[in-house]
C-alpha cells in the first residue's frame, strides 16, 4: 500500500512525470515541485479560492485535490493561461481598473473570471458577484474586480443589469 505514488500529468502543455507523497495536494505539487508559484495557498480548506487551477478544463480548488487523484490529467495554472494569451483581456482589464491591491487573490480571481467568460453570454453584475463569491479578496477590492470582469464579459458595454451597471 504505497505512500509514494507515481503520476503522469500534463501541466501547461508539458508532460510531467513524478513520484509524489500520497498526501500532496495539487497546489503544493505545482508550487513546491514545479516552481509554479502563481497559484497561491490561502486558507487550505476550500474557502478562499486563491488556489484555483484548471483540471481537464474545469476550475477546481487546488488545496482540496490530491495530486495522486489526478494521474493522467491535464492541469492549467495561471502561468499557462497568462503565457498563452488566453486571459490577456482580463489581465488588461484588472490592470486598467486597479482590480488588485496586494495581488494575492488575483490568480484565482482571473481563472474564476475566465470560467464565467467562457459561458459566452452577457451576465449581470449580480451574476459576476455570485460567480466570484468563492474567491476572497482580503483587501476588499471587489467593486473594482467586478468592474474589470464586467468590461470583459459584457464586451458590448451592456450588461443585463439590476444594480446600476458600470461605474
Amino acid at each position: 500500500m504505497p505512500e509514494s505514488i507515481p503520476v503522469s500529468l500534463t501541466v501547461n502543455g508539458r508532460r510531467v512525470e513524478a513520484t509524489i507523497p500520497a498526501r500532496l495536494t495539487i497546489v503544493d505539487f505545482l508550487r513546491d515541485h514545479l516552481g509554479l508559484t502563481g497559484t497561491h495557498v490561502g486558507c487550505a480548506h476550500g474557502v478562499c479560492g486563491a488556489c484555483t487551477v484548471r483540471v481537464d478544463g474545469a476550475i477546481i480548488r487546488g488545496c482540496l485535490t490530491l495530486t495522486a487523484q489526478l494521474d493522467g490529467g491535464t492541469i492549467e495554472t495561471i502561468e499557462g493561461v497568462a503565457d498563452s494569451g488566453e486571459i490577456a483581456d482580463l489581465q488588461e482589464a484588472f490592470y486598467a481598473r486597479n482590480a488588485m491591491q496586494c495581488g494575492f487573490c488575483t490568480p484565482g480571481m482571473l481563472l474564476t473570471a475566465a470560467s464565467l467568460k467562457a459561458r459566452g453570454r452577457p451576465v449581470s453584475r449580480q451574476e459576476i458577484r455570485d460567480h466570484i463569491s468563492g474567491n476572497l479578496c482580503r483587501c476588499t477590492g471587489y467593486q473594482a474586480i467586478v468592474d474589470a470582469i464586467d468590461t470583459v464579459v459584457n464586451t458590448d458595454g451592456v450588461n443585463a443589469d439590476s444594480d446600476g451597471g458600470r461605474r
Binding site: M1, E3, L64
Partner: protein
C-alpha cells in the same frame, strides 16, 4: 495545514474498493471528489491510514433518464447536475438546488454520492433525496441493496452505510404530472452551508395542493421530512388559514439546535418563512410556463 500521512490506493473495481474497506476497516476512508474530506484532512480533524480513491470506478458513473425516473451514478458531480437537461426536465428541484452548493470550483469536483454518504445535516442533496423520495443504491460485502432516502439518513453524519459499504447510485422516481418545486435556502454568504433550507414539491391542480413533500435541512441532526406540515397542506389551497395550521405543525415537529449562526427559535422562525415562500411559489398562478 497539510494533511497527515496516509497511504493511497486506487480502487480498480467496486468489489476491489469493498475488499480494501474490509481489509483495512476503520483505518480506511473512501475518497471521491474529496471536497469535505480534504478540508477535514487539512485541518487534521481526521487521520485515516488509507485513502481509497474511487473516482475511476465506471460503475459509479453515468446519468440516465427513463420512464421510471432518473438514475445518477454516485460520482456525478454537482456541476453535471446543474447543467443536465435530463435533470432539468425530470427533477427540476435538483437543478434549482445545485447553484446553492458551494462555488463552481467545488461543484466541479464534489459528487452527489459523497454528499449523500457524508450526510451533512445542512447539505442540499440529502434534503432533495428525501423530498424526491429517492432511493440510495448501496454496494457492500453482501451485494447490492436499495434503501429509501427516508430510511437512509439516521442521525448526525450517520446513515445506513455499514462497514464496507459505498453509495453506488441515487435513483429518483418519475415525478407526478403537474408537480412543482421550490428550493429555498438561507445563508450568510452565497455558497455557505444553509442556516435553514427547504426542498419543497407539490402537485398544484384545480387550485389545490396535492402530495406535498417538504424536506427541511439545517434544522436538526439530519434532513427532516415535515410530515405534519405536509398533512396540513395536502388538499388545501395554501391559503392563509392552511398556512397558519401548517406553520403551527412545523413549529411543533422541528427540533433545531442553537449555534453561532442562529438560535433554535430563530431557526424555527426562518423555517416558517421558507415554508411561506415555498408555498407562494408552489401555488403561484403565473408559474406554469
Amino acid at each position: 495545514m497539510k494533511p497527515p500521512l496516509f497511504d493511497f490506493q486506487r480502487a480498480e473495481t467496486v468489489d476491489h474498493a469493498i475488499a480494501l474497506l474490509g481489509e483495512h476497516g476503520d483505518e480506511a476512508r473512501l475518497i471521491a471528489g474529496g471536497q469535505s474530506l480534504m478540508a477535514s484532512l487539512n485541518f487534521r480533524l481526521s487521520s485515516p491510514g488509507l485513502l481509497i480513491d474511487i473516482t475511476r470506478l465506471d460503475d459509479l458513473k453515468g446519468l440516465t433518464a427513463g420512464a421510471d425516473g432518473l438514475s445518477l451514478g454516485a460520482l456525478t458531480c454537482h456541476s453535471e447536475i446543474l447543467l443536465s437537461q435530463d435533470i432539468a426536465r425530470n427533477a427540476p428541484l435538483m437543478t434549482a438546488a445545485a447553484p446553492h452548493i458551494a462555488h463552481e470550483a467545488i461543484r466541479n469536483r464534489g459528487t452527489i454520492g459523497g454528499s449523500i454518504a457524508f450526510a451533512d445535516p445542512a447539505a442540499e442533496w440529502p434534503a432533495c433525496a428525501l423530498a424526491l423520495d429517492a432511493t440510495i443504491e448501496i454496494a457492500g460485502p453482501a451485494g447490492i441493496r436499495r434503501v429509501p432516502a427516508t430510511d437512509f439518513f439516521k442521525g448526525l453524519y450517520e446513515t445506513e452505510l455499514g462497514p464496507g459499504d459505498l453509495v453506488r447510485a441515487i435513483h429518483v422516481p418519475a415525478r407526478p404530472a403537474g408537480e412543482r418545486h421550490s428550493f429555498q435556502e438561507l445563508t450568510r454568504r452565497h455558497g455557505d452551508y444553509a442556516i435553514v433550507g427547504l426542498a419543497a414539491l407539490a402537485v398544484w391542480r384545480d387550485g389545490r395542493l396535492a402530495m406535498p413533500r417538504l424536506a427541511f435541512f439545517g434544522v436538526g441532526a439530519k434532513p427532516v421530512l415535515a410530515t405534519a406540515a405536509m398533512a396540513e397542506l395536502d388538499g388545501s389551497a395554501g391559503d392563509a388559514a392552511a398556512m397558519g395550521r401548517a406553520c403551527e405543525a412545523l413549529t411543533a415537529e422541528l427540533d433545531p439546535f442553537d449555534d453561532l449562526n442562529a438560535s433554535a427559535e430563530t431557526r424555527r422562525h426562518l423555517a416558517r418563512t421558507l415554508l411561506r415562500r415555498a408555498v407562494a411559489r408552489l401555488t403561484w398562478e403565473g408559474a406554469d410556463a
